[in-house]
């Protein structure tokens, strides 16, 4: 048991080290630029997964929190007269908290609905925020807003944003992992597997769902702020972008919904591949066909996502010839939640 723990801790340490030294090794601004966006998406996918993956409620409106974070950071930076530079990063947690506050009323309304209706309500909220941002003067209307521009040198400019995003990433993954192992996480899984039964066994379903919803909004709000600062410009249709929602859902699915590392893998692969593809592809629209085809292939061949499927393969290879073990449905985080335990341990 101790040995396993040590190996696992070692692997996590290696991952963190890689995360930390990446821009020092691959210092080309193109690569670090792609890296900043990739890390931002890793946070977003992981955070989204903390709610949608664990509870089974597919939300397609988390762009609300991304946009709120972006606008919050920019508005605060401009109105409080922050000078461009490291100081503005202090506003990032504030942006996250504001996003979390917004998640409370929106979550209260949306979570009263059944799953199908819930999806549409989250989409509706996304559009409401996008339209509001386009029409209010204080958000700059359709011209958007610009935060101050720091004067860092071109070669190391991206690294500042990368490290801030990387810190958020480590915190988010840690949070995701902690939630998963906690009683709270078990309750979420119970809700995912059978909500009525969970409720009947005493799980405070409404409160649990809302807490997860709000929790998942905060990291997304934070990276929304980082994004706005990095780009130097926010327009409403890009801050509140339906494609953002589809992308993070896709990333979490492909990596493995409900796992801790799945969304990271999905975001890593999809975002860096996507930027790389676009840069190389030029005018040919054929890349769209290839891109879509790749998606389809992955989804159909690895329906539970990369990590759980690869896991399955490894397990089956290992236990080949051995007696059929009663599958515990691991990997996709679909381990049969111990509902009784979740309800009992309160």
């Amino acid at each position: 048991m101790t040995a396993r723990l040590t190996v696992r801790a070692l692997l996590v340490a290696i991952a963190i080290v890689i995360l930390g030294v990446f821009p020092l090794v691959f210092s080309n601004p193109t690569t670090t630029s792609i890296a900043v966006f990739t890390v931002i998406y890793m946070v977003a996918a992981s955070s989204w997964n903390m709610f949608s993956g664990y509870s089974g409620y597919i939300a397609l409106g988390h762009a609300v929190f991304f946009g709120v974070g972006a606008y919050a950071l920019t508005l605060l930076a401009n109105h409080l007269g922050f000078a461009a530079g490291w100081g503005i990063f202090a506003l990032v947690p504030v942006a996250g908290i504001i996003a979390g506050l917004i998640a409370i009323p929106t979550g209260l309304i949306a979570l009263r609905a059944r799953r199908h209706t819930f999806v549409v309500i989250t989409i509706a909220f996304m559009f409401i925020f996008q339209l509001a941002a386009s029409n209010f003067a204080f958000t700059g209307g359709s011209s958007g807003l610009q935060p101050p521009t720091p004067l860092w040198s071109a070669t190391s400019y991206n690294d500042h944003f990368y490290y801030v995003a990387a810190v958020i990433l480590v915190a988010t993954v840690a949070l995701s992992w902690l939630v998963r192992r906690s009683r709270f996480g078990l309750q979420l899984f119970a809700i995912r597997d059978d909500e009525e039964r969970a409720r009947g066994l005493g799980v405070r379903v409404g409160r649990v769902k809302l807490s997860a919803f709000v929790l998942s909004a905060i990291p997304i709000g934070m990276v929304g702020g980082v994004y706005a600062y990095f780009l130097g410009q926010i327009f409403p249709q890009f801050a509140f972008d339906p494609l953002f929602d589809l992308s993070i859902a896709l990333m979490a699915f492909i990596g493995g919904l409900g796992t801790v590392w799945g969304p990271l893998l999905g975001a890593l692969v999809l975002e860096s591949l996507q930027q790389y593809f676009t840069v190389q592809s030029g005018a040919s629209q054929v890349y769209l066909i290839i891109y879509g085809g790749l998606f389809l292939a992955v989804i159909l061949l690895l329906p539970r996502g990369v990590i759980p499927s690869v896991e399955d393969l490894i397990r089956r290879w290992r236990t080949r010839g051995a007696t059929q073990d009663r599958s515990r449905g691991e990997g996709d985080g679909g381990r049969r939640a111990d509902v009784v335990k979740a309800a009992g341990a309160r």
Partner: protein, 294 residues
């Protein structure tokens, strides 16, 4: 703002609502029967519009007559999509996975259309597109009236199939309880394939009317899909009549707000009212209570 401009807004809303109902009908059928959120619906509509475009521009076939070709072609396409992609989705996470699969299909369709047709905007043309007839002091454009009538007819046919035929009973039965349906001899796979085929074939008509009333290019599908999803949920999953009512409600509300208040708030008011309605009627206007656990 006068009474007549208000009345005009309502009339416009009803007619355009018919167009949207036609586009959403296939979606509600597939969603309701298969539990699948078909994100590719927007792309399919654009595909339908392009098919009508090709028939009209290169073969000189009238838009409505061309439906005789596009509707069966889309039926085959729908059956293919169900067999190739949707059948592989396991029941457990079907809804969630369907978002991804259909999104990938939408991207592929967009890519193919871009390669064939390029990115310039086109619009379906016909002699009746710009003409209108005079009624009670209003000009009613022919194309919208035809589109509305087409919507009513096709939706009526759909309703008939679903509620008055043996096949339809099988469809509704397998929605409620797959194992029981199989037990009494319903070939669930075939029923599902045919349902998707029918849903997609109606979309061909929706695409034609859309293309006649809007400029479009291969990327035009994305703007549509959020609205269509909201119509389907508002109307009630699987309810054909609900889709019509919800679509008319949506467009009429937006049109009235645009006239009474301002166009910039029209869409926002719609989405806000959607949330309000769904909070009180979580199954939509005409949805039945959940039959099985989610």
């Amino acid at each position: 703002m006068s009474a007549s401009s208000l009345a005009k807004a309502v009339i416009d809303g009803i007619l355009t609502g018919g167009v949207y109902a036609l586009m959403a009908a296939g979606l509600t059928l597939i969603f309701g029967v298969m539990d699948i959120i078909n994100i590719a619906q927007g792309a399919l509509i654009v595909l339908g519009a392009y098919m009508s475009y090709v028939l009209s521009v290169h073969l000189g076939i009238d838009l409505f007559v061309g439906l005789i070709i596009t509707i069966p072609a889309f039926f085959v396409l729908g059956v293919f999509i169900e067999w190739a992609f949707m059948r592989r989705l396991r029941d457990q996470e079907r809804t969630a996975m369907s978002i991804l699969v259909t999104y990938a299909v939408a991207i592929i369709i967009e890519g193919i259309l871009s390669v064939i047709f390029g990115v310039d905007f086109v619009q379906l043309q016909a002699s009746y597109i710009n003409s209108s007839f005079h009624l009670l002091g209003f000009y009613l454009p022919y194309i919208y009236v035809f589109g509305f009538l087409l919507a009513v007819v096709l939706l009526g046919v759909l309703y008939y199939i679903l509620y008055r035929t043996h096949f339809g009973r099988g469809v509704r039965g397998s929605l409620q309880n797959r194992s029981a349906a199989e037990l009494i001899g319903v070939n669930v796979n075939r029923v599902r394939a045919l349902s998707v085929g029918i849903g997609v074939s109606v979309t061909a008509a929706g695409g034609m009317v859309f293309g006649a009333t809007n400029s479009f290019n291969p990327s035009s599908g994305y703007d549509l899909i959020s609205r269509l999803l909201s119509i389907v949920i508002l109307g009630g999953l699987g309810s054909i009549g609900g889709a019509l009512v919800a679509a008319v409600f949506m467009v009429t509300l937006e049109d009235v707000v645009a006239v009474v208040w301002s166009p910039v708030w029209a869409t926002l008011v719609y989405y806000a009212s959607l949330i309000v309605v769904l909070s009180f009627m979580p199954n939509g206007l005409f949805g039945r209570a959940a039959i099985r656990a989610q």
